[in-house]
Amino acid sequence: MKAIALIAVLMTGGLLIYSIEGLPDWGDPDSPASTHVSPEYIQDALEKTATPNIVTAVLADYRGYDTMGETAVIFTAGIGCVLILRKKRKGKGD
């Protein structure tokens, strides 16, 4: 089992190290992630949402429905924990 784990880790690590070559340098301001749509968000966020914090503006304003679905995820997880951990009534199940 340990040998299988080690082989899997080495193969995955080799694949990841191979993929590092195509990624941008650390802190590169001209990386694809920082030049595609994020400048528009930085420039328009305050004007469109009147929120100084851009992260809050995107989370609660641009992606409001996503955050609403996130609350559904948390609610489902809480309900799941309650259903798993509740005490069974006597005489039912084991």
């Binding site: 784990a5 340098d25 650390w26 968000y41 004007e47 851009i54 992260v55 996130e70 951990l85």
Partner: protein, 136 residues
């Protein structure tokens, strides 16, 4: 070679973290250790995304300070310099990912408590042995 490694040192760190997490998930017998490995792997992915948004050269957190509210609606478009704020989108997406990881960790810990109540152990092999002896 060393310069190449240093210029992308963040990705090397995450490769190591993913390796540790994956090894814990596959190689360890204790179910709690498997869960900790899953969390280490999730942390590696979250750090990877956050580091994608970093910008060198004096970029700060993406929060407008000072008279930003006063300037609101008065041609703020020209004032904001994109290079002085880090990319906020990876931060937002990882906020969502952290919430999902908390939810999965909570449900997994609840399931582990149930498993321990039933089998009195968290060792994978012992649980499988008990199940085999019970004829499941």
């Amino acid at each position: 070679m060393l310069e190449y490694v240093v210029s992308k040192f963040n990705f090397w760190t995450y490769v190591i973290l993913v390796g540790i997490g994956l090894y814990a998930m596959i190689g360890k017998k204790n179910l709690v250790k498997k869960l900790i490995g899953m969390n280490i792997m999730q942390s590696a992915v979250i750090l990877f995304y956050v580091s994608i948004g970093a910008k060198k050269g004096g970029a700060t957190v993406p929060i407008f300070m000072g008279d930003a509210h006063a300037a609101h609606g008065h041609g703020i478009h020209e004032i904001i310099d994109v290079a002085s704020y880090v990319n906020p989108l990876p931060h937002v997406l990882m906020l969502t990912a952290i919430v999902v990881s908390i939810a999965t960790t909570g449900v997994a810990l609840a399931a582990l408590i149930l498993i321990f109540r039933r089998y009195k152990t968290l060792n994978e092999d012992e649980i499988l042995k008990i199940r085999r002896e019970a004829g499941v």
